[in-house]
């Protein structure tokens, strides 16, 4: 059974399918946060995540005729974002950008209640991103879709073009790696700094 699509969203989609840019802009506003968060969690770079999110929406707008109106829009959009980020990560690897290059930059302050909370949040955020950065692109995407978007194995499989059993296997491997990384992190102090222009939490 597919989840029900909100009436307003269905209306925007129908209008956007006819080329109505303003209707699609409503969808952009509605989904900018989940798409951006996915891109940031995947790429760990604020400006690149923004660019990837923009590209995701452009791709979605262009390929809207391929979206099944009876299926929810969100997983379809997240699937485009995931594939786009995986491609970017592969290209990045081809450019031989090492993980070390991605570290050592200062995280700008995000709005928070106080300096102690800020420091804790930043440390926590850095820790999470370091954990994710230790995973292969598809495994990273599976973990993000599972833990931030609460997608089922089937939905993750649809988003990443994998079978349900492949998703389970990848998630298991990812969990083992994350546990190892966590333990390694406990033994070693955190690397100072993180990515530049870290976005704010919702």
């Amino acid at each position: 059974m597919t989840p029900e699509i909100p009436i307003e969203e269905a209306r925007w989609l129908a209008r956007a399918r006819k080329g109505d840019e303003r209707a699609f802009a409503q969808l952009v506003e509605a989904y900018e946060q989940p798409v951006f968060n996915l891109c940031y969690r995947m790429l760990w770079d604020g400006p690149e995540a923004e660019d990837a999110a923009q590209e995701t929406f452009l791709k979605a707008f262009r390929g809207l005729h391929r979206h099944d109106p009876d299926r929810p829009f969100r997983p379809w959009l997240l699937s485009i974002a995931s594939h786009h980020c995986i491609d970017r990560l592969r290209r990045r690897r081809l450019r031989l950008t090492s993980l070390e290059d991605l570290q050592g930059e200062e995280i700008p302050a995000a709005p928070s209640p106080g300096p102690e909370a800020t420091a804790l949040e930043r440390e926590h955020s850095l820790r999470v991103q370091q954990l994710l950065a230790g995973l292969a692109p598809k495994e990273r995407a599976a973990v993000v879709l599972r833990y931030w978007y609460d997608l089922s194995y089937v939905e993750i499989g649809q988003a990443l073009s994998l079978s349900e059993s492949a998703v389970k296997s990848r998630l298991h491997r990812a969990r083992r790696q994350l546990a190892d990384l966590w333990r390694a992190g406990e033994e070693k102090p955190l690397a100072a700094g993180g990515r530049q222009n870290e976005p704010s939490a919702a």
């Binding site: 923009q54 809207l64 059993s165």
Partner: protein, 155 residues
């Protein structure tokens, strides 16, 4: 491997360090882009459309020039292509005529040159017409697709 997976998934919570890592993932917030994301998206879309329109103009110009050059090339090639064949036929006939003892060859060449060109002319003409027609249709379709067709949803 698949048969083992349910067991593997069940084992996940027992992995040392996993509970803490999972708690960290679950506590991580949903991040937002900088304010004005949808406005930037519209600007992005407008820029993309302008780029697409520029590309269409370039394609249009390129195809028009390419088509004109191809037509010129066909025009220029058709003349020279005809004359060597005529010359070859003439030479063959002369050579055959010079060889007095080669009546059989002359007869054969005569039969070939007399009979084949009729078929070849008909087939060649039809083939040439078909090829030119197909190339023109392809050129027109490309011109329409790349230079005239409306830009939909950002190109």
């Amino acid at each position: 491997m698949n048969l083992q997976q349910p067991e593997l998934v069940r084992q996940d919570p027992d992995l040392p360090g996993w509970a803490e890592a999972e708690a960290a993932l679950q506590a991580a917030p949903m991040l937002s882009p900088a304010i004005g994301f949808s406005r930037r998206w519209r600007l992005h879309l407008t820029a993309r459309r302008a780029r697409h329109a520029r590309r269409q103009s370039l394609w249009s110009l390129g195809l028009a020039l390419g088509g004109a050059l191809a037509a010129l090339a066909v025009w220029a090639l058709l003349g020279p292509l005809g004359s060597p064949a005529d010359m070859a036929v003439e030479l063959g006939l002369r050579a055959a005529a010079w060889g007095r003892g080669l009546d059989l060859l002359l007869g054969l060449a005569d039969a070939l040159l007399g009979a084949l060109p009729l078929v070849l002319r008909a087939l060649g003409g039809l083939g040439l017409l078909f090829t030119l027609g197909w190339l023109s249709a392809l050129w027109l379709a490309s011109l329409y697709r790349l230079s005239v067709q409306e830009i939909r949803n950002g190109g």
